[in-house]
């Protein structure tokens, strides 16, 4: 099976030089569904940031989707991000844009034709059950609905990887379950690699998927 993420002796730190992740190695295969857990401040989000290039490795090697992340230039980083879908706890939707335009964002960036994009957005909003809301603005929707829009946006350009940072952190149980179903669906039906940083793994998903746990700067695979 192809490895879509390869970390070898990876060390991550911010400008203050405090080491967050210390010489860790792990692989993630294409089509895997991976949970990353750990206590608050353990470095879960830091690790995820390194996967979408917001933080460069201090030492060691990191390859994501075939792109080496060490000292990556903006051209390569933009190329990688056009093949990655990202979901955040705070949704990160553009408030002054409609739901339709928010979901269309990755397609605009990738240069899709407008009519093709419109069809794709319609399909995705139907998939997340928000096709009747496409003319609305993010702040007119509930938190759960906004996260479904963020999910639709993350799926819009058929990414090879979806990175999700506490995607259910702000949601009630029902909305959380909807998001887990969408992430699981992306992995199972579209064969997309899904990496989720979370505090809480749903009971129903605990035994099925790969689980990396971060503690004291080290990463362990939980079996």
């Amino acid at each position: 099976m192809d490895k879509v993420i390869i970390a070898k002796d990876l060390t991550l730190s911010y400008n203050n030089n405090e080491t967050i992740i210390n010489q860790c190695s792990f692989d993630i295969n294409s089509g895997d569904f991976v949970f990353i857990t750990g206590a608050s401040g353990s470095g879960k989000s830091t690790l995820l940031k390194s996967l979408y290039g917001a933080l460069s490795p201090k030492q060691g090697d990191l390859v994501v989707g075939g792109v080496t992340m060490n000292n990556i230039n903006s051209k390569k980083l933009n190329f990688l991000r056009r093949h990655v879908g990202i979901v955040f706890q705070d949704y990160k939707l553009i408030k002054e844009w409609t739901i339709e335009k928010n979901v269309m964002l990755p397609l605009i960036i990738s240069g899709y034709a407008k009519d093709v994009s419109e069809i794709q957005v319609q399909k995705l909003l139907t998939h997340v059950k928000l096709n009747h809301q496409l003319g609305k603005y993010p702040l007119e929707l509930s938190g759960g609905e906004q996260q479904r829009v963020a999910m639709a946006r993350a799926l819009a350009h058929n990414p090879i990887i979806i990175l999700a940072d506490e995607p259910t952190g702000n949601l009630d149980d029902y909305s959380s379950q909807v998001i887990w179903n969408l992430l699981e669906g992306a992995c199972k039906q579209l064969k997309t690699t899904v990496v989720v940083v979370t505090h809480h793994i749903p009971e129903t998903m605990k035994t099925d998927y790969k689980h990396l746990h971060i503690e004291h700067g080290s990463i362990y695979e939980v079996s």
């Binding site: 917001a54 990160k92 002054e96 964002l105 960036i109 946006r153």
Partner: protein, 270 residues
């Protein structure tokens, strides 16, 4: 509504800047017109033993625009009753030549001094009258006007910089989040900034159009020109072609500069 508010903040700032610049333009033009009036009304009188050729003197002194002989006949006529014809003939023959010199620009006192000295160095010139005391007073008044205008221009510059800095903070707040989100999905800098430039150009066009409309209204209402005409100053309040071009240029320049500064300061959140 929110979008209108976003537009309004830059349009209002640009409108204020352009309005102040146009007021400065009017002041500057009125001073130029006043200076031209002074120049036209000011002349130096020289008394010469022999006739002076205009070409010879204008080629020698670049400050002198033209030379005109002052006829002594008015004075002689006044003496006709008191003197006989022979005496008048002798007087006419012995009188020196009087000339009025018009200048290229309204001179500084030092320029008058130098010119007077150089004219007196010419053999045939006996005397130079520059009316220096009156000239100095008027010149000082002109300098005062110019000084006040320059202070005003400096104030405009400060206000402009403050407004731009304020706008920059507002824009940074308004656009940073969208640009960060676009960056997360791999948008190149040009695409991230496209909305910013579109907004900047649109707002610049609206602000320049508003200022043009305002001054066209002012001209048509005839509020300003009569005030200047009363003091014999003829000033163009708004030159449609050159001033419109200037306002579009300044508005576009400032707003594009603002967008560029914002892009230069843009930092992706980590």
């Amino acid at each position: 509504m929110k979008s209108l508010k976003n537009h309004f903040s830059l349009i209002a700032a640009l409108f204020t800047i352009l309005f102040t610049i146009q007021v400065y333009q009017i002041l500057d033009r009125s001073i130029s017109s006043y200076e031209e009036n002074l120049r036209a009304n000011y002349s130096i009188v020289v008394i010469s033993n022999t006739a002076i050729e205009e070409a010879s003197i204008t080629s020698k002194f670049s400050l002198i625009r033209s030379i005109e002989e002052i006829s002594p006949e008015k004075v002689i006529k006044r003496l006709e009753k008191e003197m006989d014809k022979t005496s008048l003939g002798l007087l006419r023959a012995s009188l020196p030549k009087f000339y009025k010199l018009s200048l290229e620009h309204y001179p500084q006192p030092s320029e008058i001094e130098i010119l007077s000295a150089q004219l007196l160095n010419m053999k045939q010139i006996k005397r130079v009258e520059s009316f220096s005391q009156t000239h100095d007073q008027i010149y000082k008044l002109l300098l005062l006007y110019k000084g006040v205008t320059q202070i005003f221009a400096f104030a405009i510059l400060i206000v402009t910089l403050l407004l731009i800095a304020k706008e920059m903070r507002i824009w940074q707040f308004q656009h940073q989040e969208r640009m960060n989100i676009m960056a997360l999905f791999g948008a190149p800098m040009m695409l991230r900034s496209a909305v910013l430039f579109r907004l900047a150009i649109l707002d610049a066009i609206i602000a320049a159009s508003l200022i043009i409309a305002t001054f066209v209204l002012i001209i048509n209402a005839g509020w300003v020109e009569p005030y200047f005409a009363d003091i014999n100053i003829h000033v163009t309040v708004f030159d449609f072609t050159t001033d419109s071009f200037m306002h579009f240029g300044i508005a576009l320049g400032l707003s594009v500069l603002l967008a560029l500064m914002l892009i230069a300061n843009h930092k992706e959140e980590v």
